[in-house]
Amino acid sequence: MSRYIPNTQEDMEQMLSEIGLSSVDQLFTDIPEGMKLSRALDLPGSLSEMELSGLMRGLAKKNAHCGEYACFLGAGAYDHFVPAMVKQVLSKPEFYTSYTPYQPEISQGMLQAIFEYQTMICQLTGMDVSNASMYDGATAVTEAALIAVRSTGKSRLLVSQGLHPEYREVLKTYGKYNDLVIEEIPLRDGITAVSELDVMSGVKGSDGANAANTTLGDENAGKATTGKSDIAAVIVQSPNFLGAVEDLKWFGEFAASKGALSIACVDPISIALLEPPGACGIDIAAGEGQGLGNALNYGGPYLGFLAAKKAFVRKMPGRIVGQTTDNEDKRGFVLTLQAREQHIRREKAVSNICSNQALNALAAAVYMSVMGKEGIKEAANLCLQKAHYAAEKLFATGKFAKLSEAAFIKEFAVRALHEPIQAINERLLRHGIIGGLDLEKYYPKMKDCWLLAVTEKRTKQEIDDMVRIAAGGES
């Protein structure tokens, strides 16, 4: 028997005899015979721990990874430094082998950690309330949009094309099933073309300005007038997908003037230096929390963070931890405001989310505890300095052109004048460097455009090498 199954043949016999059966097969008589699998599953045979370890190490070796390669890829997943403490804390079995904290008396550790996480997310974003995490940045932004739809009773969303392309895809998928009308605001010179917004915020369907009108369902939404409109929310990302800082304050005021909510998708490291959504009049802040102490992991598990003004708390999806007291008036923590959730409200719940990304939220909390008020600023500033150094060096080669004059923090886009991006990236990879994102895949008009992220982990030497090889020099 497997080492994960402790009962022996003798145990099994004793247990069967207690039940009054003579064989294990008799336990499965409720299953119609014709429905039973009459053969063994066609799967590879079982492996010992040593064999498994060898197999998996072999698979891991087929990947290039950031431990050996200098990574300049970002686009929503970043190679930030993860302090040793994070892994140590996440390895504690009391945390990682526990379930959702339904029994608060023996789950105070996780509940308090999540309460602290919620506090830190609020500190970082400047918002009033945070939930305990969502699946990822894409679903966090999508659920933020659904909060807006529920709160305003409207179904039209104006979404900047600077929002991560995959987040927009997820929003559209969910939108198809919730009768949302999603219209995209184009980019101009690397930032959201705010001048288009006045046109778009007029009568729905004024699609002259809409780069990608994905009107789906609902043809009877109201008409726009000054002050009021049929818009549920305006969604913008800052820094946007191309790395450029957007004017959140402007979006906050614009949305408010139209009776819509403003939703900002923000980067948790960059906002250590940028005026946070809460200080810009934004209603809901969402984003990808991976950069807070979570490894790249080929795209997951990550965590979405979702924080809002107090007024929206009862419309927020997902777990929320609250403080309370016990019989003896001692401080304690519980899952709260559960009347929003699926296990209580079933089809009337605000979302179907059940499991979130608790352990990733714990990683984020440990990361923020370690970095603290000063460390997160220092890390963000290292990104800022190195990204600007890299950009200048690239322009200095004469092989790359600027795409935008907008301010940026850790990521920026350039146009290659000498070669296709794919060729540059392939050459870099041969030299132990993971190059930036070929933007044409996501923005068909952005041919030869390259999105580079420079985190605090990149050294001057790595940047210099990347620039030289990207410009055509071999080594």
């Binding site: 497997s2 994960y4 009962n7 145990d11 069967l16 039940i19 599953l41 799967l43 079982s46 190490r57 070796k61 290039a64 990874h65 950031c66 050996e68 302090p83 009391e94 945390f95 990682y96 082998t97 379930y99 904290p101 023996i106 789950s107 105070q108 550790g109 506090t119 500190q123 970082l124 309330v129 699946y135 894409a138 679903t139 998928t173 009768d179 230096l273 005026e275 490894a295 790249l296 080929y298 997951g300 007291t325 304690g332 923590f333 709260t336 699926q342 089809e347 179907n352 499991s355 979130n356 990304q357 608790a358 714990l362 923020m368 970095m371 000063e374 800022l384 190195k386 301010a407 993971i434």
Partner: protein, 511 residues
């Protein structure tokens, strides 16, 4: 000069005393309640170290209008503070490694350590999702083979690994069902049928996917009421969501008829894989007539629950639904793995990137460890353990559905109720015995339910000890009911005021 030194020394002694007092107070508090990390914060303390900037530092890179004016007030603590803080918190938490965790419907089986080690290999953790396919062949191979293995286990054609959790898988599966009907011009199929015994996520996911929910009753033996189902289905039926074994831990013997009724009405069958731990290698949802299935890798396939996630909720579909799977789908040709985005009928994306890869990886390692015979043993032992416990408890507790169960079973407090002892009280009293209680008050169709799922990773001795604890609580409920009603006594906090938490929400430090 000398005076000043003395003064400083005196001050320092005083400060030392004051600090000692503080420290005593802090330790006192810690026994009472764990401090919040913010309460330990002191200006100037730090737990981080970063290298000096090795490129020329420039000022003014961020325009004033955008620059942050007030710092995020994150805690300032030392590294040892952080280490002790989280060690203290871990001590106030209970996991599968702490002791038996028979939480019904959650499959709290042991989480193998080698899988944790594998998932922390640099060659997996350090891979960026947008690296080119050539440089991520190892990860893509894991995803592709996982699709193949889970397809075999469930009897499906293909499996997407993009959904991040079970509920996310449900949503994805229902979107696929919707897209399928629409592609056939059958847009009037707007209703999803859900039994009254279903998990809360089922109706919530159906509503979230834009469907109307129709509830069907359970029959006296806990299965779907066939007559009620016949009335519920029709030309507007998009599908039926079913857990089999159901949430009572019973296999629905009428599954063939149920499938026929739904299919004849033009609907599809959705399998909620929450209870798949009972059937591996024994029967397959695909062979039962299901068209769509989701699995919970964090239940059946041993990946840790992480205090509420990350999970992973892969969705498998029959051949005719493959075109609707979310993009991208991992494909393989001549031993080369690649991501296929060119799928015109796809429902789109449900998550960024490719899902919770790190979780999929652990489940992959688990399946490779167990092999086909091992997985079948898992289900056999999960079912044997549950039946053994149920048998041993039958004299002390009411068992609403007394027949052979699958991997879990239901008790109620009917024998304890006359003493004013509720299921919640029994659950709380179990805490004093060092156990995590069963799932309580679910399923909703059983009054004061207690749902026990032992899993296969527990020994007979563990099951016996837990049963003994429950029997002694039953005795206590008879002789000393107040003792049960006021439990727990040994936990770091006693029963918490949940009403207060909801009425006057304190959702962050400083609220």
């Amino acid at each position: 000069m000398a005076d000043k030194i003395n003064e400083r020394q005196v001050n320092s002694i005083d400060n030392g005393r004051a600090e000692l007092e503080d420290r005593r107070q802090i330790e006192q508090n810690n026994r009472e309640q764990a401090m919040l990390i913010f309460e330990m914060s002191r200006d100037g303390r730090r737990a981080y170290s970063l290298p000096a900037c090795d490129v020329p530092v420039k000022e003014g890179l961020i325009p004033d209008a955008f620059a942050r004016r007030r710092d995020a007030d994150l805690p300032q603590v030392s590294e040892v503070d952080v280490a002790r803080h989280y060690t203290r918190l871990a001590g106030r938490n209970h996991g599968v490694d702490s002791s038996f965790y028979p939480l019904g419907s959650c499959t709290m089986k042991y989480n193998p350590k080698i899988n944790e080690e594998i998932a922390s290999l640099d060659g997996f953790t350090g891979v960026h999702p947008y690296q080119n396919e050539e440089s991520a062949q190892g990860s893509l191979q894991v995803l592709y083979e996982m699709d193949r293995m889970l397809s075999e286990i469930t009897g499906m054609k293909r499996v997407t690994l993009q959904p991040a959790a079970g509920a996310h898988g449900e949503l994805t599966g229902l979107m696929i069902i919707g897209a399928y009907h629409r592609s056939r011009g059958d847009a009037a199929r707007t209703k999803i049928v859900v039994p009254d015994s279903a998990h809360g996520t089922n109706p919530a996911s159906a509503a979230f996917a834009g469907f109307e929910v129709v509830e069907v009753k359970s029959n006296p033996s806990g299965g779907v009421d066939i007559e009620d189902l016949k009335l519920a289905v029709g030309q507007d039926t998009a599908g039926l969501m079913l857990t089999n074994p159901n949430t009572l831990g019973l296999f629905d013997e009428n599954i063939e008829e149920i499938a026929r009724i739904v299919h004849d009405a033009g609907g599809l069958l959705y399998y909620d894989g929450a209870n798949a731990n009972a059937i591996m290698g024994i029967c397959r949802p695909g062979d039962m007539g299901f068209d769509v299935v989701h699995l919970n890798l964090h239940k059946t396939f041993s990946t840790p629950h992480g205090g509420g996630g990350p999970g992973s909720g892969p969705v498998g579909v029959k051949e005719e639904l493959v075109p609707f799977l979310p993009v991208p789908v991992v494909e393989c040709e001549n031993d080369r793995y690649w991501l296929d985005y060119d799928r015109p009928q796809t429902i789109g994306r449900v998550r960024s990137f490719y899902g919770n890869f790190g979780v999929v990886l652990k489940a992959y390692a688990y399946i490779r460890t167990m092999g086909p015979d091992g997985l079948k043993n898992v289900s056999e032992l999960a079912v044997l353990n549950a039946n053994y416990m149920m048998k041993r408890l039958e004299d002390s507790f009411d068992i609403p559905y007394k027949r052979i169960c699958m991997h879990e079973f239901i008790l109620s407090n009917k024998k304890q109720e006359h003493n004013g002892v509720r299921t919640l009280d029994i659950a709380k009293r179990l805490l004093d015995f060092g156990y995590h209680p069963p799932t309580v008050y679910f399923p909703l169709i059983v009054h004061e339910a207690m749902m026990i799922e032992p899993t296969e990773t527990e020994s007979k001795e563990t099951l016996d000890s837990f049963v003994d604890a429950l029997i002694s609580i039953a005795r206590e409920a008879e002789n000393e009911p107040d003792r049960v009603r006021k439990a727990p006594y040994t936990t770091v906090v006693s029963r918490l005021d949940e009403v207060k938490a909801a009425r006057n929400p304190v959702l962050k430090w400083g609220d």
